[in-house]
């Protein structure tokens, strides 16, 4: 099929999703899609993603559509340069289908904190799709695009992937360039991928991977991400089950989903082993020191001076301009995190919060290293403690919202690759399981996920 034809069909699906009130897109147009298609049709066929339409979270910059991060402060902002990941997608023949809705500046776990309205769960409009990459997840789940880019700082792709019943892959920190990903928590941020299937996600991830001279935190000395070898069985594979991730009060639907995975692993010949990650329970509080601290600095650039929205305060001076622009331009959750991040770095509190959090982060990472050091190839955990929750349930209680990321967050602190795989449903709502791999061992993880997907797909797709 020609890219032009794909663009037409994709446009029709985007229009339908919009008409259905999913609110998953922030910017798209048929004209832009047609232009993408014309560009792709002029390319030689054979690109790894030739004529594949891909949704992009609206915190990754492109020059031909706005990048707002779902924030009022960047309303109408069109980047004058393109993110490395987008350049690579385009070079491989992909078409950027749309910019997807998100929690403002990727801060949230439900995509309710968007200045442009919440994203609805494709299976139940009263529920949330997860977040912060909720728009990207919903578009893949609704069949609008086969794959999408999201971003993770503390689970923002795996958690919505689990909620929406799609595959979500977070690469190792340093595997994918952050150049052009609007920074939130720079030591944690990773462009990450949604796919309808493991293979879709793998193909996209391989295209965007690799060192970038424009990002000093990419790892130039690591081997490229190879396509995982197909596996008929999982004989010889050792999978660790960290006991802290299977608490007694785990949601029964989630427990049942994980039991299905464990059964499938055994049937495929894998060996299971109990392991312990004792410091993981501190991951969320650690995250809520480090990420806001980095965010407070990263978001200081939105000051109404060089770009974006400017509000002039009543006093009309520069300080009033700053506080009005930032006070009115940022939403409540972003303001809260900036304030907390400023607090933990301020004179007299640095050691108690920021420095302490760095120590605990290292302890969380060390746990993983030790677990993998015992001969375990991968770890298996639930992705989320519950199936998707109802909209409005947690918006007034930031800490309850943070706890939705309790199983995904430790991985971000440790910089490891991990994915969420749909493993079944509970009351019609998707359940996901998480696989975690050692640093730069994505191929192993993706190969095992593909093997599990073959066994689990029927359960995952039954409503």
């Amino acid at each position: 099929m020609s890219a032009t034809a794909v663009a037409r069909e994709t446009g029709a699906r985007l229009a339908k999703a919009e008409a259905d009130g999913l609110n998953a897109t922030l910017h798209w147009s048929q004209a832009a899609l047609d232009a993408e298609a014309a560009r792709v049709d002029a390319l030689p066929a054979g690109g790894a993603l030739h004529a594949v339409p891909i949704a992009v979270k609206d915190n990754i910059v492109t020059t031909d559509a706005p990048t707002t991060c779902a924030s009022r402060i960047l309303e109408g902002y069109v980047s004058p340069y393109t993110a490395t990941a987008i350049e690579r997608l385009r070079a491989a023949g992909a078409m950027i289908a749309c910019k997807a809705n998100l929690d403002e500046f990727a801060m949230g776990s439900s995509t309710e904190h968007s200045a442009y309205g919440r994203v609805k769960h494709p299976l139940d409009p009263a529920r949330v799709p997860g977040g912060s990459s909720g728009g990207s997840a919903a578009l893949v789940a609704a069949g609008v695009v086969p794959a999408a880019l999201g971003s993770e700082t503390g689970g923002s792709v795996r958690q919505p992937a689990s909620f929406c019943g799609v595959v979500g892959v977070k690469p190792s920190y340093g595997r994918v360039s952050r150049y052009g990903l609007v920074a939130f928590g720079s030591s944690l941020d990773c462009i990450s991928v949604f796919g309808k299937t493991v293979d879709d996600a793998t193909r996209v991830l391989r295209v965007i991977s690799g060192p970038d001279p424009l990002d000093a935190t990419t790892k130039a000395d690591r081997p490229a991400l190879e396509a995982p070898a197909p596996r008929a069985d999982l004989k010889g594979l050792k999978v660790g089950l960290p006991k802290e991730y299977f608490p007694a009060n785990l949601h029964p639907g989630v427990r049942a989903g994980l039991d299905r995975v464990i059964k499938a692993l055994k049937e495929l010949g894998a060996e299971l082993k109990a392991v312990s990650l004792p410091y993981s329970k501190y991951a969320v509080p650690t995250y809520y020191i480090i990420a806001p601290a980095e965010a407070a600095a990263n978001l200081a650039r939105y000051d109404g001076v060089r770009y974006g929205v400017r509000k002039v305060g009543p006093e009309g001076d520069i300080r009033a301009l700053y506080s009005a622009t930032r006070g009115e331009g940022f939403g409540a959750e972003v303001r809260r995190r900036i304030l907390v991040g400023t607090y933990v770095l301020s004179a007299g509190y640095y050691d108690a919060y920021y420095r302490k959090a760095q120590t605990v982060r290292a302890l969380v990472a060390q746990d993983f290293k030790r677990a993998f050091g015992t001969g375990v190839d991968l770890l298996l955990t639930p992705t989320t403690p519950t199936p998707p929750f109802k909209a409005g349930e947690k918006t007034d209680d930031p800490v309850q919202m943070y706890l939705a990321d309790i199983f995904v967050c430790p991985v971000n602190l440790a910089g490891l690759p991990a994915l969420s795989l749909p493993v079944g449903r509970d009351g019609g709502l998707p359940i996901g399981a998480q696989l975690i791999a050692p640093d730069f061992e994505e191929a192993r993880m993706l190969g095992v996920a593909a093997a599990l997907e073959r066994v689990l797909r029927p359960a995952a797709e039954v409503r």
């Binding site: 150049y179 978001l299 650039r301 520069i318 400023t342």
Partner: protein, 477 residues
């Protein structure tokens, strides 16, 4: 009872790179506003910094020239504050793990002779943009061409004891940094900027007084003036029973006074933390040694070597070594065969006038060496040589020898007795009375005759050759 002044200096110098500290934008000075900007130095969403290797080399060389230890691992940190000239809302700098620590600078104090001032640290950071307040009514204009330019900040220990000493420290520091080709240290273009911390205490008091920081010091002379004004202000305050409040002050060169900018209570809380966009700067031993090897001979070593190798007086050696271009020129003239003392004399004299005006030496070293040789060989008088030196022919690249220029100017001295005899005869013929008086015993008239011969020959006659010919003719007839 006497007061002692205690001064520490923070000097920012712009590193001589082609591109900015963290992006590929040009560092050219004077381009139209906001033309040397890119996603990184505009602080656009999603842009990331990548450090400039040359900036690190230059900063390390500066550190080594100041005897600092370059740390095998240093860390970039974010310094957070809001200002319209700071695009990201933070400056990338270094904080608790700087590039280099523990150096010192030896210099000539006007009060205490040769002294050593400790250098606490040297770190690298990016510059801010420029604000222009007088161009748009009610508005401040922001130009970000300078934003992201690499700087080294050099922090001294509070070892300086007078405003004049502060000036001497700065002069020596500048000399070293220009020598090492780390920075051009032009205060006019803002590539060297100084902040000073100053306090006073009773002589002999081991404790430091409360210090104030003085900013906006735009020339070495103003550093001295500002520190004098601030010292007087503090002493007057203390002597009238008041106390110094820690604060930041601005110097107004127009009034010669300092003015309060902010007190300590209003001081910034910069919330430094390691920049997560930048892994640590790890510098291997070999890399550090490469930078050391790349350092040129520094002024002090050069001064000693010039004095020793060329037998120059200490004063001459210091003047020549004070500027690398001058020292190099001197050495080139000496290497071209000139007598070193004469070469020093010429370089510090006639040649320096032109250098001070144009910043370069127009006469090629070989031509000057020849000129010196012609004077030594009595082919040119000193007077004639000065004329030849100043002539446009000497710097001309098509000139093949100094002698050719001197000859074409008709300035070469004649020591051939035949030619001299002609001028001597002419002079004796024209002054018969004086000849008689000489022959009658008034021998001091010999000087008069020499002068007349020089005059008649229009300076071409070699004065040393003239006298024997004169004496012979005067006595012989």
């Amino acid at each position: 009872m006497a007061w002692e002044t205690v001064i520490g200096l923070e000097v920012h110098v712009q590193l001589l790179t082609r591109s900015k500290m963290f992006c590929g934008c040009s560092t050219a000075f004077g381009d139209p506003p906001n033309t040397n900007v890119c996603p990184v130095c505009l602080g656009l969403p999603g842009a990331l910094p990548v450090p400039n290797a040359q900036a690190m080399r230059l900063a390390a060389r500066a550190a080594l020239a100041l005897g600092c230890t370059v740390q095998p691992r240093s860390v970039f940190a974010r310094k957070n504050y809001f200002y319209p000239d700071l695009p990201k809302g933070y400056q990338i700098s270094q904080f608790d793990e700087p590039l280099a620590v523990r150096g010192s600078l030896e210099f000539e104090s006007p009060d205490r002779g040769r002294i050593r001032c400790g250098v606490t640290r040297l770190h690298v950071e990016e510059d801010a943009g420029k604000l222009i307040h007088d161009r748009f009514p009610g508005k401040t204009a922001v130009d970000l061409n300078r934003a992201g330019t690499p700087l080294a900040e050099i922090v001294s220990e509070p070892d300086i004891r007078s405003p004049a000493e502060a000036r001497a420290y700065l002069t020596t520091l500048k000399q070293i940094l220009v020598y090492a080709e780390v920075s051009d240290c032009s205060m006019e273009q803002g590539s060297l900027r100084v902040d000073a911390n100053v306090s006073v205490r009773r002589a002999g008091d081991p404790n430091l007084g409360t210090k104030c920081e003085v900013k906006n010091l735009n020339s070495f002379a103003n550093v001295e003036r500002a520190l004098e004004a601030e010292r007087e202000r503090q002493v007057a305050l203390l002597e009238s029973g008041g106390r110094v409040v820690q604060s930041t002050l601005l110097f107004n060169a127009g009034t010669g006074q300092v003015k309060l900018l902010r007190s300590k209570e209003e001081s910034h809380d910069y919330r430094y933390f390691p920049d997560p966009d930048l892994p640590p700067l790890v510098l291997g031993k070999a890399w550090i040694e490469e930078q050391r090897a790349a350092l040129p001979e520094l002024p002090e070593a050069k001064r000693d070597r010039l004095a020793q190798k060329y037998g120059l007086p200490a004063y001459d050696a210091r003047v020549l070594a004070g500027d690398r271009v001058i020292a190099d020129y001197f050495e080139a003239v000496a290497a071209a065969g000139a007598d070193p003392k004469a070469a020093a004399h010429w370089v510090m004299g006639d040649a320096m006038t032109g250098y001070n005006e144009t910043g370069r030496f127009a006469v090629p070293p070989a031509r000057l060496a020849e000129l010196i040789g012609l004077v030594a060989g009595n082919v040119l008088s000193l007077q004639a040589a000065k004329k030849v030196f100043a002539s446009p022919g000497l710097p001309d690249p098509s000139t093949t020898s100094t002698l050719a220029v001197a000859t074409s100017m008709g300035l070469t001295q004649v020591s051939d007795t035949g030619a001299l005899g002609g001028w001597v005869d002419e002079v004796l013929r024209a002054n018969p009375k004086e000849v008689e008086r000489y022959r009658a015993g008034e021998v001091k008239l010999i000087a008069f005759f020499v002068g007349q011969v020089m005059k008649t020959s229009r300076g071409k006659a070699d004065p040393k050759g003239v006298q024997p010919v004169l004496v012979e003719r005067l006595n012989g007839k």
